[in-house]
């Protein structure tokens, strides 16, 4: 089809609603948010906006000099979310792949199992993270009970406060996240023609060789999309931390979303909250640029 005036008009009509929603909710606020980071805006002058003082880079500078320690907490929260992603994404992918390979075989009851593994994906976040918060409780929770029954711990561990908090959230997130990946990988596995495996088998390829040279290359396009999305979405992580650990920004497992939320809507410093949000955007854009660039390099070879 060619670009015609009629097409342009039809397209404008068709994408109009989506375009408007995107402008109103995403693009304008993001651009405006960058402006906010340079304004001295807090609860006292919110109602007078846009008559608020322009403060230049003060919001950024204040993060590290105002004595409340919010800047360093923000920096460590970025570190936390990176560690969280570095563990959660590979762990989730490997489990998802293993289960997808398992369920790719025919066995009685396969459809039931396939339906069951979808449960974590479809159960609401708030529900499952609250349940995990319940079973991670120190004395009344069942995780410690299990570990002690297995002889792995002597004293009850405190999971949700202090050093173990990040680990507890990671366990819950991997549990909640792998079924979706697994479903996608399973669908991809089922598109691989059986002849490829038969040929590999005739050539005497071992199980590992078939996995390495047939299965993985065939599901690589889907895997790549899923992994890229996970890396990007990793910075969106909020629910699991907010539900399991609360809005405590001094927690060793605080993430940027929680720290910024508290700074803006707890301490009511909208300006410095925006400054942190802008810093976070810069980091995400830099990571994305690196990812896109390295992909170009590789495909150019």
């Amino acid at each position: 089809m060619r670009i015609t005036r009629a097409n342009n008009r039809a397209a404008a009509f068709l994408i109009g609603p989506a375009l408007t929603a995107m402008f109103v909710v995403h693009l304008i606020p993001i651009l405006f948010g960058i402006v906010t980071a340079f304004l001295g805006i807090d609860v006292s002058n919110l109602s007078r906006f846009p008559r608020v003082p322009f403060v230049g880079l003060d919001n950024f500078a204040n993060l590290f000099t105002d004595g409340t320690g919010v800047g360093p907490r923000f920096m460590s929260s970025i570190w936390n979310v990176l560690v969280y992603g570095l563990v959660t994404i590979p762990a989730g992918y490997v489990i998802a792949l293993a289960v997808a390979l398992l369920l790719n075989r025919r066995f009685p009851g396969r459809n039931i199992v396939r339906g069951l593994i979808l449960l974590p994906y479809i159960t609401p976040d708030a529900v499952m993270y609250n349940v995990w918060r319940f079973i991670f409780q120190s004395r009344i929770g069942v995780v410690n009970q299990l570990l002690s029954a297995l002889g792995l711990i002597r004293e009850p561990l405190i999971w949700l406060v202090g050093d173990n908090a990040l680990f507890a959230v990671i366990v819950a997130s991997v549990w909640k996240g792998w079924p979706f990946t697994s479903l996608m990988l399973l669908a991809a596995l089922q598109t691989i023609p059986a002849e490829l495996y038969e040929a590999a088998h005739l050539d005497g390829a071992s199980w590992w060789q078939r996995l390495r040279w047939v299965t993985l290359p065939m599901i690589w396009p889907v895997s790549r999309t899923l992994l890229m999305l996970s890396v990007i979405w990793n910075f969106h992580a909020f629910n699991q931390f907010y539900v399991m650990l609360g809005a405590d920004t001094t927690s060793k497992a605080a993430v940027p979303s929680v720290v910024i939320l508290r700074e803006a809507f707890g301490a009511l410093h909208f300006g410095s909250g925006s400054a942190m949000a802008v810093l976070m955007l810069v980091i995400i854009l830099a990571l994305t640029a690196v990812a896109v660039y390295s992909r170009r390099e590789r495909s150019a070879e």
């Binding site: 342009n8 068709l14 609603p17 989506a18 909710v25 593994i117 609250n130 349940v131 009970q145 078939r210």
Partner: protein
């Protein structure tokens, strides 16, 4: 090695079969484990949960409640007005679902079928909005909400439609992506014929496309519904007494003074029901719709 050649590539030895069965059981057990404790907790009295202590003989938390009770369900709307939150969530998520399906269907149709100026740019923008974490625009969004209300007098915060607009546009990028993947699998001849027959674009979308993309539309709808049901970051700032959703409501069971785990577990089950019912009745369509868009590229 010799015996192996008798088997087709997919066949397992007896030992392999046992290992395979064990692995499947392990997967099922891991998935079900938290659900068992959720159900069990919902039938326990608060005192039984609170006094449990696995280090003390006879006090360990047990899967079967020692004194089963239905009081957590009977009091579902008492301590925390959970049914009111449920109503709020149903309205907000349902509205989001309807708008997301319609808007993404239009946009995906344009992307899949029409060549228009700015098409590439538009597609790129749609996908790149996915990158921005909510927290990056929550603050300005909140300030703009306040500004709009002050200038026009229209309330924005703590209204159903304010939340529906917000969530619809959160869901849109992924919905458009999924819907376009689905539309691309439908032969163009179908709607070109209708165009020749003098059917308008809107008529094509509603009368020709909508019936055939039903599985895609259903999975897009469910995605939008679940997204709105789950969202907590914007809800924690933009909802209030009139629109608080179940996800935030669940947090009210645990206060600094009291931990009502039993009540919370019962509420967890109740607020999962709409999503689970929706999903299981439409499961076939969803899996087809979800995977068709993603796998095909």
């Amino acid at each position: 090695m010799k015996r192996r050649t008798h088997r087709a590539p997919g066949d397992l030895s007896p030992a392999g079969k046992i290992l395979f069965a064990l692995a499947v059981c392990l997967v099922v057990a891991t998935v079900l484990f938290p659900y068992l404790w959720m159900v069990s907790g919902s039938f326990k009295r608060t005192i039984e949960i609170q006094s449990a202590d696995y280090t003390k003989e006879g006090m360990e938390p047990t899967l079967i409640p020692r004194q089963p009770t239905l009081e957590n369900y009977a009091k579902i709307n008492k301590t925390v007005p959970m049914l009111d939150y449920l109503k709020n969530s149903l309205i907000i998520s349902g509205g989001t679902m309807v708008f997301a399906i319609l808007i993404s269907l239009f946009a995906a149709y344009a992307l899949s079928r029409l060549d228009f100026r700015g098409r590439k740019l538009y597609e790129l923008t749609v996908y790149s909005t996915q990158m921005f974490p909510g927290i990056a625009f929550l603050i300005p969004y909140f300030v703009l909400f306040n500004l709009v209300t002050r200038i026009t007098g229209i309330p924005m915060r703590d209204t159903y439609w304010g939340m529906i607009i917000t969530y619809t546009s959160f869901a849109l990028p992924f919905c458009i992506l999924m819907m376009k993947g689905y539309l691309d699998t439908i032969p163009k001849s179908l709607d070109e014929q209708a165009l020749v027959d003098g059917c308008g674009r809107a008529g094509i979308v509603f009368r020709i496309i909508l019936p055939v993309v039903k599985p895609g539309a259903i999975s897009v709808g469910i995605f939008a519904f679940i997204m709105a049901w789950n969202e907590m970051l914007f809800a924690s700032v933009l909802t209030g007494g009139d629109t608080k959703t179940v996800s935030l409501g669940l947090m009210e069971y645990i206060t600094t003074n009291q931990a009502r785990w039993g009540g919370m577990m019962a509420a967890c089950i109740v607020v999962s029901i709409p999503v689970l019912v929706l999903f299981t009745t439409l499961q076939k369509h969803i899996i087809e719709g979800l995977t068709k868009g993603a796998v095909k590229e």
